[in-house]
Amino acid sequence: MKTKDALYNFCLRLADNNLVLGQRMAEWCSRGPILEEDLALTNISLDLFGQAETLYEYAVLLKEANITADDLAFLRNERQFYNSLIVEQPNGDFAFTIVRQFLYSTFARLMCEALMNSNDESLSGYATKALKEVKYHFRHSSEWIIRFGNGTEESKNRAQFALNELWRFTDDLFVMNDIDHELISVGISFSLDDIFGQWNFAVQEVLREANLFTPERFNVIKGGSNGIHTEHLGHMLSEMQYLQRVHPGAKW
């Protein structure tokens, strides 16, 4: 695999994570449990959309073909999306959304920290910028996890339920394929094995403080970075891409 193709694909993977999770968070708009959280969830969504846009723009540059960032977001099918499985899982209740955010943001934070050292200037620039925002998301979701776990029986149960449900998707975050191997060999990316330990440590630390249990690994599924998804992504895309599919080329 050529480095440039690998980098293009890698940008899509990073961007798709942001876009898909951003879309999920946007689904909360006007439905937040309280006004402040409605604002928080949609602000996080906005950050994620912005990060996705930056990466899609970079991918377009690498491709040197007549495509736009919008084409990448709105005209690919689910098998051409490379996001991790956890971000496409439906929102569930507030606890479920926050647990998903927490598990993902912990990963995204480590990813950004590592990519800041990439020898690809655009990627390291992206990571430096995104890290500032991701730290906010990480902190916001961590604080909620701790409140849930030490709150009422109800909040604790819901958080634990979400954790049990989502745990099987977390291995998928660390799956590597040919793209990773190529990019690691040229110093653009790094081995995801390197951050797995740190991820585990950071997650356990918050769960301990929240008095929540680390679930058993059970029914683990993987495949996001190879374009193999759960049934939820297609449904999400059909809603998100509706306008461009029905009115191709429509602009604001």
Binding site: A40, E121, K132, H140
Partner: protein, 166 residues
């Protein structure tokens, strides 16, 4: 030619200083530190390098158009806008004058905060932009735009926005 370009460069900065930030119209995009560089290629061709405050800042699209319009109408028919991500934008680039204008506009300017990773960290009290007292509390870390948080002043009993230290 070289001298001309220097003159033009100053002119471009001047024009850019008149473009307001859509969210905080009392401040220009230059005062907020969003314009990183101006490169005059010829009498009619200029490259403006911007750095986004927040990745998803919707205001960016608005003032990109404003820049092109303003420069076009001053004879620069070819305007290229470049985006620079590194070094990442920080509120440290905002001048004291800009911060004072912000306060006068009713938005509390950024103050040094504890590292954003510390959970439940109490940040030092933000000064109320209305009455100048420090008996204030954080309502929400997220506000009407990505750059602002919601605060409440216990003294004048007014809500206010705070421009996050970033």
């Amino acid at each position: 030619m070289v001298i001309n370009n220097i003159v033009s460069k100053e002119k471009v900065w001047e024009l850019l200083s008149e473009i307001p930030d859509p969210d905080i119209p009392v401040l220009s995009i230059v005062e907020l530190g969003l314009v990183r560089d101006v490169e005059v290629i010829s009498e009619s061709n200029v490259i403006v390098t911007l750095t986004p405050s927040y990745s998803g800042c919707p205001a960016m699209g608005v003032f990109k158009d404003d820049i092109i319009t303003a420069l076009n109408s001053s004879g620069f028919c070819e305007v290229e806008i470049k985006i620079s991500l590194s070094p990442a934008w920080t509120t440290d680039w905002m001048s004291d004058v800009a911060k004072e204008k912000m306060r006068a506009h009713g938005i509390a300017p950024p103050e040094k905060e504890p590292e954003s990773e510390l959970r439940f960290a109490r940040q030092k009290q933000v000064t109320c932009p209305h009455c100048g007292k420090q008996e204030t509390k954080l309502v929400s870390r997220f506000g009407s735009t990505p750059c602002k948080a919601l605060w409440y002043c216990d003294t004048c009993e007014q809500p206010f926005e705070y421009f996050k230290c970033f």
